[in-house]
């Protein structure tokens, strides 16, 4: 398991890592602005970049969660939610870049087939975010993913909605991640370590008709 002392966010990055994390020359803030403008005017340098597309989709999912949180107790939660939302934004920035190539097997000697690390992290994040009341914070693939058969450990940090059963949510996330990795990669998965690093407030439910009367 990941050490509980390990920081949830990637604040421990050096400058070169941050530079590498740029998204086709754009920052996560620029992509966020692009979403605010409803992607107009169209920017081909963003629209034609897979890294930017992965980051934009992650941003969109995060915004849905943020909107639901805004209808919760904003006064009580805003400071905390700002912190973990900011950390997720940083991780989206870091993880969307293409990274290492992971081979896909093919019997033909002419074939050189790969899926990028960025694409895999993107689908892991999307898979996790599809599980209700859980938000993926960080995805990491430990091991030499470029050599077929090498055991790989997936390490995922996540935030869970308050009052959820954490072991149950972690198990659901683990199963979903296994399925996604099996579907989209030829990786040999040794383990999927999940660390729940934070809790966030349950989104407010609209009052029932009876309560409104």
């Amino acid at each position: 398991m990941t050490s509980p002392d390990e920081p949830f966010v990637a604040f421990d990055l050096d400058t070169s890592d941050r530079e590498l994390a740029h998204l086709a020359g754009h920052t996560i803030e620029e992509l966020s602005d692009y979403l605010d403008r409803d992607r107009t005017p169209a920017d081909p340098s963003i629209d034609d970049s897979p890294e930017c597309q992965i980051a934009l989709r992650s941003l969109q999912r995060l915004r849905v969660v943020q909107r639901s949180l805004l209808s919760s107790d904003v006064e009580r939660e805003s400071a905390r939610s700002d912190g973990w939302v900011r950390s997720i934004l940083q991780n989206i920035n870091l993880e969307a870049h293409s990274g290492r190539d992971m081979p896909i097997e093919h019997p033909s000697p002419t074939a050189r087939l790969v899926v990028t690390e960025g694409a895999v992290r993107g689908i892991l994040r999307a898979t996790g975010d599809e599980i209700e009341n859980i938000i993926v914070g960080r995805c990491r693939l430990d091991g030499d993913v470029s050599v077929p058969g090498t055991p790989i450990t997936i390490r995922v940090d996540a935030a869970v909605c308050e009052r959820e059963n954490i072991p149950g949510k972690a198990q659901a996330l683990r199963q979903a991640l296994y399925a996604a990795l099996d579907q989209h990669t030829d990786l040999t998965i040794a383990a999927i370590d999940i660390t729940i690093r934070d809790l966030y407030l349950r989104p407010a439910t609209p009052p029932s008709e009876t309560e409104q009367r």
Partner: protein, 109 residues
């Protein structure tokens, strides 16, 4: 002039016709944008907007593509099908040896 080069130009369509491929990104200029430009010049057509990179090397023809995979499709299967579709197309129209077909899945879903 051989009809090989114009047929290779249609690889964009071949790749995009594979079920599960929703985007064809410009492949990284590792093989050679220069080669594509040379092909355009040879065939006397406007500069190519192709995303498929084609290089004629000593060992044979090398092709590189970078794709996005539609949600609901297995990236591994789509990637293999793209390779197979390119090979089938090249075998039909290309007389040169095929050295390498590189397919990169850059985005899933």
């Amino acid at each position: 002039m051989s009809d090989v080069l114009p047929q290779a130009d249609r690889l964009d369509e071949v790749v995009l016709a594979v079920p599960g491929v929703d985007t064809l990104y410009s492949a990284a200029p590792l093989i050679a944008t220069v080669i594509t430009t040379a092909v355009d010049a040879l065939t006397r057509r406007p500069p190519s907007a192709n995303s498929v990179l084609i290089a004629h090397e000593k060992a044979g023809l090398s092709v590189a593509v970078k794709i996005g995979v539609t949600d609901g499709y297995a990236a591994t299967d789509v990637c293999r099908r793209v390779h197979d579709a390119i090979m089938e197309h090249l075998r039909e129209y290309e007389e040169q040896e095929i050295a390498e077909v590189a397919v990169t899945v850059a985005r899933i879903g």
